[in-house]
Amino acid sequence: MMSAPTTTTPGRRPAAARPEPATARRPAGRRPAAGNRPAPRTVVFAVLAWLLAIVFLLPYVEMVITALRPAGELRDATYLPGQFVWSNFVEVWRDSNLGHNLRVSLLVAGGSTLLVLLVALPAAYYTARMRFRGRTLFLLLVLVTQMFQPTSLLVGLYRQFYQLDMLNSVWTLILCNAAFNLAFAVWILTAYISSVPVQLEEAAMIDGLGRFGAMFRVTLPLAMPGVVTAVIFTFIAAWNEFVMGLTLSTVPESQPLTVGINSFIGNYSVQWNYLFAASVIAIVPVVVLFAFIERHVVSGLTAGSVK
């Protein structure tokens, strides 16, 4: 039916276009429109972007403000509370299982990201580079997987892992999160790898690097933005996963953060201030991860264009 995800046959445009002009044209490394003079359009872009950034952050600012509200002022229609109660954070950390939840979430997100890379990279590389019997079927399988969402499979998942006696296990959550994010990773990696011209790899192999050398030293660095995208996507998806954690982990110690936070709804009506205090704690690791990995996106890109 459909042959391959996005960019398929080796050597179509985005790829072929990249290395050629870089070597052929004179101003190789220099980027146009950069420079030090602040053009008026740069100012407009900057103002727009900063405004948007503020709009995007405002809902979360409101969450932080709510997290700092004293319980008595929760129902007041005011923008800011009379006083900020920082002890909300301390209390929520002390009186709940957030420590356990945090550990589970980190293990699950980290573990499933690693597993996805281990499994998806070879599959994507092979699919991008080889024509083999069953290739279309494999890509179809991946596409079909992407259409399944854990939400719609909850009953099946629960019954399966109950039969396997693997409920309340971090490994179960790692496996599940990896499996449901695998499709996207394979997909995006296939697209990026096949956008690296085969000729580059062949040249490297002729120069004596061998297939694996060519794969790791030439293709992977050039496909780095794809790898980073896959990592970010998988980690954040696993970090934010809610329904599987809720269904497959029934004791508080083995539940991820999202489930732990959700328990603030309902236990005692909704404790909005504690709910958001816990949420703020949960957001921190993802922000740190992204701050850390964004560097690699940038350096991966520049490394790619120099090559």
Binding site: M2, R31, L57, G134, S152, I283
Partner: protein, 321 residues
């Protein structure tokens, strides 16, 4: 109905990939020099194993459940045949829920793509603070869909919601309203939040796509005298096609299945008036697992149809030479 359950995977002709049922291990028996002879097995075997174990098996369990008669407490009372489906299709709410789902998906994905194209273009430019502002863009993603939706529910709270306070102060509304209590106002807010949480992923996918376009191409276009709009239409958009396709398909599937946004904000209520098929399925779950399983199967059929229609329309495998 049961055709798209189990046989998709290994039982059909995947000659070089005999069903590696066990996870992890057995696929990479011999690698290295004999790689060529082993064919695709060591490369795609682990991926297939993971998919079979964690995705296809539950699908099979799910489909099986949809033909069973199961009590609320979980005891299997025997086969139900097609009764679950018959009851499901007799449900008066089903029609409106399906229509709502289609409108919801089309509107949210459409808005998301348009806004993301603009955002990606903006954040691709060079300006002071680009990195910091890009971080802000991932906030909805980093904070998780569930939290963002809960946050909006709180901000739309009838008495203490900051959005209500703000709109009253700006004179947009006469008094605080119960936005989420009335389907007519709840839907737009739900869609707004769904777009809001879909933007980071989509924008980043498009940004990654934009970054594969070499600057020299733009330079060449400028030398050839192409204006900005022409350059965008004739160079950027076609080169963005792969990334945009990924974005649209993933969003179609995600938005269609989107559960946390609606569940956190309205629980699909009042009744099922703000439910999509996924939420409806969850609402059924508390009454009857079998019927909920039947709804899941229908749900899946709908996603498949939607994605196939889109792929057909977008002429997926023609690369548009």
């Amino acid at each position: 109905m049961s055709t798209h359950t189990e046989p998709v995977g290994p039982s059909r002709p995947t000659p070089p990939t005999p069903p590696p049922q066990d996870p992890g291990g057995p696929a990479r028996r011999r690698s290295g020099s004999s790689l060529g002879r082993l064919g695709p097995l060591p490369w795609i075997g682990p991926a297939v194993a993971l998919i079979v174990l964690v995705v296809l098996w539950p699908v099979y369990e799910m489909a099986r459940t949809s033909f069973l008669n199961i009590s609320v407490s979980g005891f299997v009372r025997g086969s139900a045949g097609l009764d679950q489906y018959r009851q499901l299709f007799a449900d008066p709410d089903l029609g409106s829920v399906v229509v709502a789902t289609v409108v919801w998906t089309a509107a949210v994905v459409g808005c998301t793509m348009l806004v993301s194209l603009a955002l990606a273009q903006l954040f691709h430019q060079r300006f002071p603070g680009r990195r910091v502002t890009r971080w802000a863009l991932i906030a909805p993603w980093a904070a998780s869909v569930l939290m963002t939706a809960v946050g909006f529910r709180w901000m739309l709270d009838r008495t203490a919601g900051v959005l209500n306070t703000l709109m009253v102060d700006l004179g947009l509304v006469d008094g605080p309203r119960d936005w989420l209590g009335d389907p007519a106002t709840a839907w737009p807010w739900l869609m707004f939040v769904a777009v809001f949480v879909s933007l980071p992923f989509t924008t980043y996918t498009l940004l990654a796509g934009l970054q594969t376009v070499p600057d020299e191409v733009y330079e060449a276009a400028r030398v050839d005298g192409a204006g900005p709009w022409r350059t965008y239409r004739l160079i950027t958009l076609p080169l963005l096609r792969p990334a945009a396709l990924v974005g649209i398909v993933i969003n179609l599937i995600n938005v269609f299945n989107s559960f946390p946004v609606i569940w956190a904000m309205t629980r699909g209520g009042p009744d099922s008036q703000t439910a999509t098929t996924t939420v409806f399925m969850y609402q059924l779950k508390s009454d009857d697992i079998g019927q909920s399983a039947a709804m899941s199967v229908v749900n899946f059929a709908l996603v498949v149809v939607m994605v196939l229609v889109f792929l057909r329309v977008s002429r997926w495998n023609k690369e548009g030479a």
